[in-house]
Every structure is written in C-alpha cells, then in structure tokens.
Symmetry: C2
Subunit: 206 residues, 2 copies
Amino acid sequence: MTNQHFSTKDRILSAAEDLFAKSGFAGASLRQVTSVANVNLAAVNYHFGSKENLINELFKRRLDELTAQRTKALEQVLKESSVTLESVLEAFVAPALTLAQDRGGGQSFVRLLARAFAEQDQRLRRFVSDNYGHVLKEFAKSISALLPHLAKEDLYWRLDFVSGALTYAMSDFGMIKKPPTLTEEQHRRNAARQFVRFAAAGLRAP
Amino acid sequence: MTNQHFSTKDRILSAAEDLFAKSGFAGASLRQVTSVANVNLAAVNYHFGSKENLINELFKRRLDELTAQRTKALEQVLKESSVTLESVLEAFVAPALTLAQDRGGGQSFVRLLARAFAEQDQRLRRFVSDNYGHVLKEFAKSISALLPHLAKEDLYWRLDFVSGALTYAMSDFGMIKKPPTLTEEQHRRNAARQFVRFAAAGLRAP
DNA sequence: CTACTATTCAAACACTTGTTTCATACAGTT
DNA sequence: AACTGTATGAAACAAGTGTTTGAATAGTAG
C-alpha cells in the first residue's frame, strides 16, 4: 500500500519512529508498528533482532546524520576569521531544526529524542552519550573559548540550560506554533534566530 | 514491612511515583507498583478505579502543592515595592527545586513531570494545563510587565525556552551533580541562583 | 533448469498486562 | 450478639506482549 517502494527495513524504521514518538517505547507495540508499516510481524525480529535493537538502529540512523551536519557546520564557523558566540550556537541549532522540519519523519524523531532524555533508562542514555558525546564536547570547548571570563562551573550550568531550552522547544510541546502566514522555512529561521539570541544572552549573563 | 504505618493509598502513590519516573507510565506495571508498595494487586483498582486514574491522582497530589507554593511566592514578590525580573523568576523556580529535593519522592515526581511533557498523550497534557495553566499565565503576565519593550512574540519564544531549561535541568539537574562538598540545601540554592541568572539574561536579550 | 539463500507469512509460544470476581477479615454500630 | 460497610486477599479473566517456528515464496547465481 503506502510507501511500497521503500524497503521493509525502512518502512519499519519510519513507522517505529512515528509510533514511539507518539506512545513511547513501551507504549507502542511491534504489532502496531508492523501494521502501520504494512509488514509482517516477524519482520522486525528478522531484520533487527529485537525491539530494543530496533530502537538503537532508529537513533543511529538519525543521529549519525545530525552529528555529521553539526560537525561540518562547526568546522565551517571555526574557519572564519571572527568567531562569535552566535555563530557557534547557530552551527549547533541549525542542523537540529532542519531535521525537526524534515518531512520524512524528522519531526517525530525530534520528539523521540526529547523522550529519550526524559527516560531514566540508562541503556539508551549511554548509547547516545557514547556515540555522540564527542560532538557536544567540541561545541562546549568552542563556547568556553569565547567566554574566557566565565567560570567552568557556571559554564556547565548554562550549557545544561541551553540544552534543555533547545530540546524542549524543538519538540514543539511549547506554545509556539507556526503562524499560517509564515512558510516552514521562515518559521525555522525564526526559531533559530530566537533561540540563538536567547541562548547567547543567557550564556553571557553577568 | 516498609512504610507500614502509611495508608495503602499513600503507599501505592509513592511506589507508583518512583516506578513511573523510572520506567514510564506504560513501562511500569501495576504488579510492580503493588509489589513495591507491599499491597495486594487489586488494591489499585479498589482505591483508584484504574491505572489511568492513579496517574491523575498522582499528579494532583503534587501539583496542588506546587502551584499553591508558587502562587504564594509570587504574591509575596508582587507585594514588595521593587519587583525585579529576578525575584519573579525566583518565585517560580524555588518551590519547584524544593520539591525536586524533597526526600519523600519529590525527586521522582519532578522527573515524572518532565516525562509528562515528553508524552504526546493529550489526556495528561490537558489535565495538567486545565488545572494548573492559570498559574503559568500569572507568571507570564508579571514577567511581561517587567519587560515592556519586549514584543509579545519574542516574549512567548523566550518563555518557552525558559520552561524548557527549567524542566530539563530539574529532571535530574542534567549533567550537574551535587559536589560532595555542598549540602543539598546549598546545591539547591546554587541551582536556583544559576537558573535565575541565566533565565533573566536570556529574557532580557537585546 | 536447479540449487541456494534471503525474505515473507500465518500460527503458535510462553508470558505479562489491567481488570474483575468472590471469599475472607476486620472494623464500628445497634 | 448479629449486622454492616470497608478493606484485603488469592485466583482467574480476556487481551495483548515480544519472540520463535517452520512452511511458503521470491530472487539469484551456477
């Protein structure tokens, strides 16, 4: 039926992304997933081995792309002659917002990411931190260099707040809805601008 | 055995708070809850009617207290002659941090709150917003009055970021762990101070 | 074609889920 | 003392869970 021209694996991943974002990892069953994906129930265990492994592959698929784009954007910024706090933050948030707006299920994934952080589940948190923590460290280092007068402890607190603000805002639980007058592209740019201004000011707090 | 001097209802609520925070609403079963609470399985349905209703009562118990304290703190602040952005933010965050540090399961509840926001589940979100939205509006109004030059649209974005920063940071104080040299009380005050500084600066961003 | 592997499918597996039932125990009242 | 409503208990309920099985089907290389 739907997406019949995508592979079984991809259809499972997309359906799982949607349903896990909607109902949580425990809340969505493999029967729901395979039903939406138009795939036999056994296909999940055949292609992914287990439900838990499906979840990991799901994160891998998106995060590999996200961290690659973030790394590229940061490198680009650091190459310029005048590196500003705003430009570093922009390099961090722009790829995420692009993903959040991607038509191919990226929206669901961003919500899934927020959920993963809310999960106390240590396995998933370790998986994310092990595989993608180094990028975050790169950003932290760049930001630290731009705020030489800021005590390390203060910096850590504020980076924490910044992460929270971004995670929360991106998964659009927030009040902010795209007004009909704006295109998605404009809304995305607007969100990025708002976030960068807020985060930069917060990081520079006296 | 444990907490035998608490009522069955209270023991269920406490155990549920812990387990739901740890594993999510779908992830923790009533059998786990009743086992931890040292209570018969049927007691949940007897005292609360259903699992869903148990969840609601759980939120009610904590949020009633939290919103009451926030309202009181805000009124106190607004009574003073010089109301600052910092003092309003302090009134908002202090009760939450007190709760987050409460020994009687408040820590779990705060994590639960973060999880509830991550839930796409509309029933729970409506329950929270219906019953406790008015307090948030009060704070938004007070903050708006203190930032007369800020466009409404900008204000909404920034309040969104502030909520995110707080939710995320509170849900287990993010990366920030209490150093052993500090008492919990000191750590709490520190967190509040850090948050207020960050949020105030972000809200005042040029 | 044949042989072979990779994939799909329906059915079953063993187990857990929230909820209900009904018998039992324990108050407090008359 | 018997009666009453509240609370607890063990057991069962139907439905849903992730996973496994073994046969049926494509699809491909020799």
